[in-house]
């Protein structure tokens, strides 16, 4: 709960310079067969053979292939590190750009992980799948605690009037926002 709440301030207000990265080149890369034609999870599994060779682990975002330049671009991330692996299939070299992220950015990364994009490939790293379970568990626990909290409040007869007024105020505020955002 603390991690999710604290990272909200970072996600809403922070600005990060993403240009400050270090890069290195790895040669003699073995390109998996037919990577350029693979799609979805199969493509990610084959791209993983490349990221393993350059020593980068984490969740693969997507695989982009430029047929004209014969290059693959593979963004890969995990808490603390963001990397982009650019593979030249002709020269069999890979340039790895790596950026270390701050503590708060790592927590914000976890807040957004696994996320809604590229559903076919999301959760391709073991720890992303574990985190998804932990995040889901947190949500179910919050729902359970909030329902039991409402029950506990309702059993205090002297606080019912104030509580109902606060629930009403919360519902009214949320509906006002939803009118502006979702209608």
């Amino acid at each position: 709960m603390i991690a999710f709440a604290v990272s909200v301030f970072f996600l809403n207000h922070a600005k990060v310079d993403t240009g400050a990265s270090t890069s290195f080149t790895v040669g003699d890369i073995r390109i998996p067969a037919a990577l350029e034609n693979a799609r979805g999870r199969e493509a990610v599994d084959r791209a993983r053979e490349i990221t393993n060779q350059v020593g980068v682990t984490g969740e693969i975002g997507f695989i982009r292939y430029s047929r004209r330049e014969q290059r693959f671009v593979i963004p890969i991330s995990r808490p603390g590190v963001e990397a982009i692996v650019e593979v030249d299939a002709m020269k069999r070299t890979a340039v790895v750009s790596r950026r270390a992220t701050s503590l708060l950015e790592s927590v914000a990364y976890l807040h957004k992980s696994p996320g809604p994009h590229n559903a076919d490939v999301r959760g391709n790293w073991f720890w992303t799948r574990v985190w998804r379970m932990l995040a889901d568990g947190t949500v179910y626990l919050v729902l359970f605690i909030s329902v039991t909290g409402v029950y506990l409040w309702f059993s205090i007869k002297g606080e019912r009037r104030n509580g109902l007024a606060l629930i009403g105020a919360g519902v009214a505020t949320l509906f006002a926002f939803l009118y502006g955002l979702a209608v």
Partner: protein, 215 residues
């Protein structure tokens, strides 16, 4: 000495009563916000669920003749166009440079998105509109802050977004107050301390594993 002791007992009682009150007052006010963010958080975490799908098909583009764009900068001209076209939302600039003599921008809020292209010589605007479902709008609201921390060019320029961000910040701050207040309430229950410490340590350790342990 006895006076001081009774005074500190009184203060402790007041603190405890207000901490408990604050806990359920905040909890009740933010209840529906918490349920909204919990529910949409699950949808974001499970993009394959049927409810998670966001319809993203654009309607056929329409054209409209408009008065000349007024303003010295692109943002002023874009805001002028938004007013004249009767649109609303948060401005997002396309990554590629616009064609000469045109003004191009995207405009979005959770329910709708627009791609606007204005021919400044002919004073003609072309608008492509994407309409989303209510569920999709709820889901997008979860992440709608008008600013991306890893994109320096983005900033909030719509009042509703700024107010929504304040609401999200308030919810986060309220949750932190409730969590730390509940730690205090737990700590006052002397018989539950050992089990509490164990559960607390387990929670912190599992979170720390992800924050620090996977670097």
């Amino acid at each position: 000495m006895a006076l001081r002791s009774s005074h500190s007992r009184y203060l402790s009682g007041v603190l405890e009563a207000w901490n408990r009150r604050l806990h359920y007052y905040l909890g009740l006010y933010f209840l529906v916000f918490l349920w909204l963010f919990s529910f949409t958080g699950l949808l974001l975490n499970h993009p394959r669920w049927a409810l998670s799908r966001i319809p993203n098909e654009a309607k056929p583009a329409y054209e409209r003749n408009i008065d000349a764009a007024v303003g010295a900068t692109d943002i002023e001209r874009a805001n002028d166009m938004i007013r004249k076209l009767g649109l609303r939302g948060e401005i997002d600039w396309p990554q590629s440079a616009p064609a000469p003599g045109t003004l191009e921008f995207n405009l979005a809020y959770p329910k709708q998105a627009f791609q606007v292209r204005v021919d400044l010589a002919l004073n003609r605007a072309t608008v492509r509109e994407i309409d989303r479902s209510f569920w999709s709008a709820l889901k997008i609201s979860h992440t709608f802050s008008g600013s991306r921390y890893n994109a320096n060019g983005t900033s909030r320029d719509w009042l509703v977004t700024s107010l929504w961000v304040i609401a999200m910040d308030a919810l986060a701050a309220g949750l932190l107050v409730m969590v730390f207040g509940s730690y205090y309430m737990w700590y006052r229950l002397k018989r539950q301390r050992t089990l509490g410490w164990l559960v607390l340590a387990l929670g912190f350790a599992s979170c720390a594993l992800f924050v620090f342990g996977l670097v």
